[in-house]
Every structure is written in C-alpha cells, then in structure tokens.
C-alpha cells in the first residue's frame, strides 16, 4: 500500500520514474521544475506540497513537504489544487490539461510553455498512478 504524499510514495515514485521513463522518448529531454501544492488534505484539512525537478529528461529531485511553499528551491511552475483534484488525476478520472482548463488546478507560470510540458508530465502522472493505491 503506497499512500499519496507519503515518504514511501516519493521513494517508490522516484525509483519507478528512473527505471521506467526514458529521458528522450517519454520525458522529451525537458528541463523544468514544478511545485505541486495540495490543499484540503483530509482528515485535518491540511496543505502539503511536492517539488519535482527534471534536467534534460532526468529526474533530479522529488520531495514532499508540509505547507504550501518549498523553501529549498524556486520552481518554474506552481500548480495548486485540492486533494480531491489530485486524487481524480492520479486515478485517471481527469487529465492534467482539463484540470487546468476547469480551474481545478491553478497554474502559475507561462501557460504557453506549460502546454509544451503536458505530454511529458502525463508520463510522470501515469508512473505515479501505477504506484499510488491509497488516498
């Protein structure tokens, strides 16, 4: 059982992405960083975030923190949404693109540049979907 946003989720996710995702074909050699803020986490209505960094398609960092900011590094993009939205995305009920267009995820950063990331990020989401089985 790997619970969303747990330490195990990060570790297994990291290993899964490194093993299964090809930097060129799957991640299109992208270099970017993303802060995902997850709000209204049950049972205490808390907020957490995860920071993900890629360099030329290789995973450099994947960290989970409490609160809505990660002080270590500044991400190029920030996506912010509630726990239910992330859960829907990880369960394959909603795509990342439609979550942004429906304002379920708020995006900070260039939308045009972010559009270019949708496909590679979909690969990461599929990886995380594979390993996440508890919410």
């Amino acid at each position: 059982m790997v619970k969303f946003l747990s330490e195990a989720w990060i570790e297994i996710g990291k290993n899964y992405m490194l093993e299964k995702l090809d930097p060129v074909n799957d991640l299109k050699n992208i270099s970017t960083s993303l802060l995902g803020v997850v709000e209204h986490i049950p049972p205490n209505d808390s907020t957490m975030n995860f920071y993900l960094e890629l360099k030329e398609g290789k995973l450099i960092e994947f960290i989970v923190n409490s609160g809505d900011t990660y002080k270590g590094k500044e991400a190029i993009y920030e996506i912010r949404g509630n726990y239910g939205t992330y859960k829907s995305i990880l369960q394959g009920e909603m795509s990342l693109g439609i979550a942004v267009l429906k304002n379920r995820l708020k995006l900070k950063g260039s939308k045009m540049q972010a559009l270019r990331l949708i496909k590679p990020l979909d690969g990461i989401i599929v990886s995380l979907r594979e390993i996440t089985d508890e919410f």
Binding site: M94, L101, N103, M112, L115
Partner: protein, 656 residues
C-alpha cells in the same frame, strides 16, 4: 379488455410524451413570464428543475431510458403539477411543443406503479451537511431531481453521483463552497443552463459540465432592485434578462440584454453579454458597476473592495481558455441606459453580405444607432415566423423571389435615422415589419404565387417591394392581423395567441430587440450551435473570408447552416459574429459532425488570426474589453497549432 386498452393507451401516451421530451431543447423559457400568462406554480414554489416543465421533460426521458428509477420524490414532483397549461402556451410560442402532455404522462406513469416500486433515498452525511447550510428543503440527493439537470450541467452519460443545492444568499454560497472543499467534492454553479445546453450534445460537454459533485442551483438568489436615480439595477444570480428588462422598462430604462432566458449574472461571467446594443452600451466589464463574487475557496469579495487584486485583467492569446468560471457572481450592480421618446427602427435590406457589412461597420465607427446588426435571412425568418414550416417558406420567398439575404437592423433616434436614410437608397420601416409579423403565414404562402414570380423578374426586387409600387400590393396580400397568426397554432391555443399577438409589444421591433424572446425559435429544428467570436474589422476581406470558412465547414460536413448575426463592438473596431448550425441533437452522427465543426472552426480561426473565438470568449465577461480584445491576436504558428491540437486532445480525451 377495457383495462388492456387503457394500458395500451397509457403506453402510447408515455411514448408520445418521451418523443415530445426528446425534442425539448432546455431553453428555460418556462421559468419566467414572458407572455403575461404566469409561470409554472410548482416550479416557482419548489425550485428544483424537476418541478419545472423543462425538468419534467428531461425526467421522463431518464425514466424511459432506465437511467433513473422512480423514487418517493417522483410522487411529489408529479403531484405538484396541477395541469394548469401555462407551459403549453409558453413552449408552443417558441418551439410548438406541448409539455403538459409530458406532465400528464408522468402522472399516469406514477399512478400505475405499486408503492413498493418507489425507492427511498436515504440522507447521507454530505447531504446532512448541505441541509444544515440551506435548510432541509433546499438540498437533495434524489436521482429523479438530479436527472432533471441532465443536459444543462450534468452530461448525458454520467453516473448520477451528485447533490443539488439551492442557496438563497451569497453567504450560503460561500458556506457550500467551503464545505465542498473540506470534503473534496467538486462543485459548479448553475443558472439558466442555456449555454451548457447548446454545448451538451457536442464535444464541449465534457469540459464544460460537472462530472460529479455539488450542483449549486442559483435560482433562489432573486434580488432585483432598480435604482432610477443612478440608472443602475442590483440583480441577484437567479434573475433572468427578461425579468431585469421588464423592471427597467417600468422606469423608462433599458439593460444591455442577452437572450430572454439567460441569467444576468451568469451571462456577465460567461460572455460579457453579447448583444446588438453592445457598440453603444459596451461589452465585458462595461456592463457593471460592481460585482459580488464567491471565489473557489468560498471567500466573498466585491469588485469595489479597496484591497482587491486587479479583477479586470486577463491573459491574451489562444491559451487563455477557461472551461469554468473563476468565481461565482452572486449579485451584480449593472448599468441601465435611457430609453428615448424618438427611438425608431430602420432596416436596410441587402442581397449580398459585403454591402451589408460595409454599412454596419461604417455606422458602428460613426457611433450611429443604439442597436446595430446584420441579420441573416434565416435568422429573420426564424424570429418572425410562428412555426417552423412558416419560417422555411418565409426563407424560401426571401431567397428566391425577393433576393433578400441580409438586413442591417438599426435602432436609433430620429436624427440618426435621417443620417441612415441619406446613406442608403431604401429601407424597411416599422409599419412594414409589423405587417410581416402579423402577416407571416400569408407571406409564406406566397411561395407559389404569380405575384412573387412577377416580382422576382424586377431588376431590383428589393427596391420594388420596399420602395416601389409593389409595396401596397404586398401589404394588401399579407392581410396582417392577430387572428391570422393565431390560426397557425393548435386550435385550443388560438384564442390565447390572438390576445398575445394583439399586444403592442409583439409587433414592436424595438421591444423585441430589447427583450429577445424570439431567438429560442431557432431551436425548433431541435438544436443549434452558434460558434463565432469577435474579429478585428480593419480588413474587410479577412472578415468575410472568416465567415466563408464557417459556411464551407457546414457544406463539407453536410449540416444546415447560416450566418446568424454580426454586430459591432468598441466603436466598430471589432464585430461579433455568430454562425449557426442546425441539427438533431438526438442523432449521434450529426452531433459528431457538429463537434468537428466546433473544433475545426476554432483551429482555423486561430490560424487566420485577429480573431477571438467563442471559446476564448468563455468566462471572460468580467474583464475589461481592452484586456480581452487587445492586443490583436496574430495567427498562430505551426508549432502553436500543433500545441493547440495536443491541448484539445487532452481535453477531449483523444482525437476527434
């Protein structure tokens, strides 16, 4: 034996009722009193859509398909209807449907069920919480009620995993959103549902609808106050354009109004009120003085708050798409405009679009007129004709004999009228328009007449009929009267429609332009989709090529189509254009083709450039027009086009 016959007749009645319901287009005209006949007492009292004629029509479809089973609430829904017949009058005026037959069939259906066939739907924890906010009566998880919202916020193929809640004030809306967030339940506000109903049969349904969660039905926010001294009105989210316009008129004021059934607040949010009066009265944030909003964290804000982050700006470019509102507008203080004593209507007929367009843009740039539009022949025929067949014949006569394909419609004061009349050779005046409304059945019957054949042989049939000797013959042939129009309606409704057409406003083109009760008639062919958008008017060929693109797509995909209207914005620098496609929303193949038109027309519009497509318009209404329309969008590059297609595939879940 007698009992078998009774059962057989009930089955037929139910089947007929389902057939009627399938033609329903969710226009929402049964939810306000636009004919002076009153409105559905059950709907007014109970609020939820299932208690309105529109909702009953959806409900019977869902029962017939088996998507929903009878519940205890269904008994209440059926019992609440006293078969007063108001819905038949309203629906017959616009679409010639008879929703009372649906109500009767539902009563018969419920009567023959055993008590053990009604499901009891227990209250769950979420519903309990919602009821604590709005009161027991105004929140439900009943599938019969939920299913009535299909097509106007709930997609056709979704599980009925929803709650419907009807708050009565802004504070309750705020509490509902905070409650939804705490429980991680998606939510979406619903007003008239008319915009979604147009999108529902198409590929846009998935993006614009609520997939599950809480539907916040805003009907109960019914504050409406006119402030004559400041020429403003305070309008709650449950108020329709018709209701606002009616109250404004009592004070000799006029609102910039979308179609009659659109709710004022949601229309402000959705498209910024697209209207033929926009060149004079404004667009987007021009329409209001202040808004009360509830954001997606449930925080209540007002635009007039001193510390608010700039609420009027939005990003430009094709990536500014948004499929849901950024916040819920629960109340708006809107601008009203003076009505002048010397207002008149002038219509200038044309056989070609280029000349009509030139006059329109010229007038727009000069600031002449209060309402300005090019209306297509089809648009005019649909509006003026009391039945679909008459509109088809009306269209035929205009096209084949009169060569009347477009009309520039100008509402203006007397001084402006003189200017317009100096600019053109001949016009259609108010008196002749009145004759065309009350003589529409006769006009349509002229399609096989010698009179029309002779007229069509004139060098300029338009001039001969509107400014020449043929006019008096036409007026005589039309024999216009309320009796004549009333005759085309069902026999039991003829007396009622005689009275309706005897009212001065029914032949007052200015009133009809302001109250907009006729556009719903476009739905008589079951459904229409009106993509388009606003385009820079600086390059006439570019604009006309854009319109031609929509026409070509209609031909290519074999869907009946026609220009709807063009109206200038921002002193004629832009013009909004609606291009209409007519189709059967029960035919999945036609729905696929409409979807392709929506996607292809948007892609081609973006490639052409200098255009703001209808999808770019969505949910931009609260921003300043200067931010929405400028900078002029250049045509997108090949790379951007590929990204756009990728984005659409993400939204649509694959290639179309």
């Amino acid at each position: 034996m007698a009992s078998d016959r009774l059962i057989a007749s009930q089955k037929t009645s139910f089947k007929n009722a389902v057939d009627i319901a399938k033609k329903g287009t969710h226009c929402g005209m049964c939810r306000f009193d636009f004919l002076g006949s009153g409105i559905c007492p059950a709907g007014r009292k109970k609020g939820f859509l299932a208690y309105w004629p529109q909702g009953r029509m959806e409900l019977i479809k869902q029962l017939d398909s088996g998507r929903v089973k009878p519940t205890d609430k269904l008994k209440d829904i059926v019992k609440s209807c006293n078969l007063c017949g108001i819905c038949d009058k309203q629906c017959n005026f616009t679409t010639q449907l008879r929703p009372e037959k649906v109500a009767k069939a539902l009563k018969e259906y419920v009567d023959k069920l055993d008590n053990n066939e009604f499901q009891n739907i227990p209250e769950d924890d979420i519903l309990r919480g919602l009821r604590e906010i709005v009161g027991e009566e105004w929140a439900t998880n009943d599938p019969c009620i939920i299913s009535s919202y299909t097509f106007t916020i709930i997609p056709r193929d979704s599980e009925l995993d929803y709650y419907i809640v009807m708050p009565e004030n802004t504070e309750q809306v705020s509490r509902i959103i905070k409650y939804a967030n705490k429980n991680n339940i998606p939510f979406l506000p619903r007003s008239g549902g008319t915009a979604f109903s147009a999108a529902a049969p198409t590929v846009l349904a998935k993006g614009l609808s609520l997939e599950r969660g809480i539907v916040i039905d805003l009907y109960r926010l019914r504050k409406l106050e006119i402030h004559p001294e400041s020429c403003t009105a305070t309008v709650g989210a449950g108020i329709t354009m018709f209701e606002l316009q009616k109250e404004a008129l009592k004070n000799k004021l006029r609102a910039l109004a979308a179609e009659a059934g659109a709710h004022v607040c949601s229309n402000i949010v959705t498209t910024g009120i697209i209207s033929t009066w926009g060149n004079r009265y404004g667009a987007f944030a021009d329409n209001f003085i202040d808004l009360t909003t509830v954001d997606d964290e449930g925080e209540i804000k007002k635009h007039s708050d001193l510390e608010i982050k700039n609420p009027y700006s939005t990003e430009s470019g094709f990536t500014n798409l948004s499929l849901t509102p950024h916040s819920i507008v629960t109340e708006a203080i809107v601008k009203l405009h003076p009505i002048f004593n010397d207002e008149e209507i002038v219509l200038v007929p044309y056989n070609n679009l280029r000349d009509a367009y030139r006059l329109l843009i010229d007038l727009g740039k000069r600031g002449i007129g209060l309402s300005l539009a090019v209306l297509s022949r089809k648009y005019l025929a649909e509006f003026l004709s009391p039945t679909l067949q008459i509109s088809k014949d009306f269209d035929y006569v205009c096209k084949n004999y009169l060569k009347l394909n477009y009309v520039v419609s100008i509402i203006c004061n007397k001084d402006d009228k003189r200017i317009v009349e100096d600019m053109v050779e001949y016009t259609i005046d108010h008196s002749l328009m009145k004759s065309l409304i009350l003589g529409a059945p006769r006009f349509s019957s002229l399609r096989e007449s010698e009179f029309m054949k002779i007229l069509s042989e004139e060098e300029d049939p338009l001039k001969a009929i509107f400014a020449g000797p043929m006019r008096k013959h036409l007026e005589k042939a039309l024999d216009p009267s309320p009796e004549q129009v009333a005759k085309v309606f069902d026999e039991d409704l003829q007396d009622f429609f005689k009275k309706v057409y005897s009212k001065p406003e029914m032949t007052d083109i200015i009133w009809l332009h302001a109250f907009r009760i006729l556009p719903t008639r476009m739905m008589r062919q079951q459904m229409f989709m009106g993509p388009g958008g606003a385009m820079w008017t600086g390059d006439e060929n570019h604009y006309l090529n854009w319109i031609q693109m929509f026409s070509d797509l209609g031909d290519k995909l074999n869907i009946e189509h026609s220009l709807g209207f063009i109206t200038p914005l921002d002193h004629g620098k832009f013009a909004y254009m609606e291009y209409d496609y007519y189709y059967d929303h029960n035919d999945s193949d036609e729905c696929s083709r409409i979807s392709k038109i929506v996607v292809d027309s948007m892609e081609q519009s973006l490639v052409m450039g200098k255009v703001l497509t209808i999808l770019n318009y969505l949910f931009k209404g609260i921003y300043r027009k200067e931010h929405v329309l400028y900078p002029l969008a250049e045509g997108i590059s090949k790379e951007e086009q590929e990204l756009f297609i990728e984005l659409l595939e993400t939204v649509l879940g694959g290639k179309l």
